[in-house]
Symmetry: C2
Subunit: 263 residues, 2 copies
């Protein structure tokens, strides 16, 4: 795949920083990893990192910045997390207060920034393996469900696992398991195949978040742990102050999808 | 493999707790995962967990206990970390003060206990794949070297990567890479094959820790990240107080080796 220079992550981040890109990032920098963003005060950071360690499927950690730092070291070369995300959400006690396109006025010395794996990488790998991702093909958001599977709590953080659902043709389930097992850094293998009731989903056509999706006669619903889980859990903890990216407006890293493959 | 009831981890931990077992654990509970132990005060725990997150090859986290808790939840069913390790080392400002067989007198409410993967699992998998592990066959300790490969620092923790060396026959290197790649929870794939000088090792027959090992004509030295790294880094941080297991006297978990295999 030949990538035009305007699709190089560094250039995209530069345009985001200068407000030349303010949209969601799903079509940008194909082949590069995008990340969920959670920014918390230091006094909640150990609990949140421990929550991620105990729940690696919904909360795969790509990078945690040093306390107070807004510069990345591992996922991107000196990106600035105050500016390099197209839209941020600011919360107080679990309630959204505002959306903003930079954190210049809001940054505090005790902030700790978490970058977590996002399923865009995942979907690319499935599509490359010849498995259509329905919501991508239809240009819709993926259907997501709150399950009855508890996360492993850590300190102030606890709550149910949120999953995303992709309808997979029966004869491609094995391949879908194989392909996604290679990417534990972006949720890894499925956590349920075919039995939505078993994980507490009453109606597979009525998602809690995102858009509903048809399931054809030769398909079964397959469920993967979802990056909404850590955000939901962080909101539920009702911290005095917290920041996340705005849904779909991700942080574009320098990592290539294949960099996250385990073998 | 049939395991006698005396070799079940729970029973071994019971004997350790009652001082009926006070020796090193290398021959005990074959097929079950053993863990390195590091116990630190809460004010250093975020930095240490972040250090492990940034350096997963030398520091694979199996479980972190809740602040102040001595009971495991994930790696073993309610083991008690005050008693269930045969020998502990107590450090002040990076210097060993004493060895003890329980922490009853020493436990503090702000302790955070880290259990990290150990290469015993690893060696079993290699041996099962028909690859002789020289030091195991000879009943010696594995040779370990301080390299010129820096770890990724986190807060107060930094230092060089320590590696272990196993001589591998040239025609079994591919298999050794494959087998160990399945176990990122116990250091994963090698970090260097054959070129000891490249990673700053002057004399491959003079290890910094452990015992020297012959390298036969058809073999090359293969290097894996080593669990001594986090201990060395934690000692170097010269914390006012820290506890580890005594070398070879590991925590025996309920996890089976295969539970740590990624695929």
């Amino acid at each position: 795949m030949i990538i035009s220079t305007t699709q190089i992550p560094k250039n995209i981040r530069y345009q985001i920083r200068n407000n030349e890109i303010t949209t969601h990032t799903s079509e940008l920098a194909p082949g590069y990893v995008q990340a969920n963003v959670v920014i918390l005060p230091k006094n909640a950071a150990f609990d949140f990192l421990l929550f991620c360690q105990r729940n690696p499927k919904p909360c795969p950690v790509l990078e945690v910045l040093d306390v107070g730092s807004y510069f990345t070291n591992y996922t991107a070369d000196k990106a600035d997390l105050r500016y390099d995300v197209p839209k941020y959400r600011l919360y107080e006690y679990g309630e959204i207060q505002e959306e903003t396109n930079n954190l210049e006025k809001h940054w505090k010395k005790d902030f700790v920034t978490f970058l977590l794996g996002c399923s865009f990488t995942f979907d690319s790998a499935l599509i490359s393996a010849g498995i259509e991702i329905r919501n991508v093909a239809e240009g819709k958001n993926i259907p997501m469900f709150v399950t009855n599977i508890p996360t492993s709590p850590a300190g102030i953080f606890s709550g149910p696992t949120v999953v995303s659902m992709r309808p997979i043709p029966k004869d491609k389930i094995v391949r879908a398991v194989q392909v996604t097992s290679r990417f534990p850094g972006v949720h890894g293998s499925p956590i349920q195949i075919g039995d939505s009731e078993k994980i507490g989903i009453k109606d597979v056509f009525k998602p809690d978040f995102g858009d509903p999706t048809d399931i054809l006669a030769d398909e079964v619903p397959v469920f993967w742990a979802c990056g909404v889980t850590p955000q939901a859990v962080a909101m539920e903890a009702k911290l005095p102050f917290m920041i996340t990216h705005s849904p779909g407006h991700m942080f574009v890293t320098d990592l290539k999808d294949e960099d996250l493959a385990i073998i």
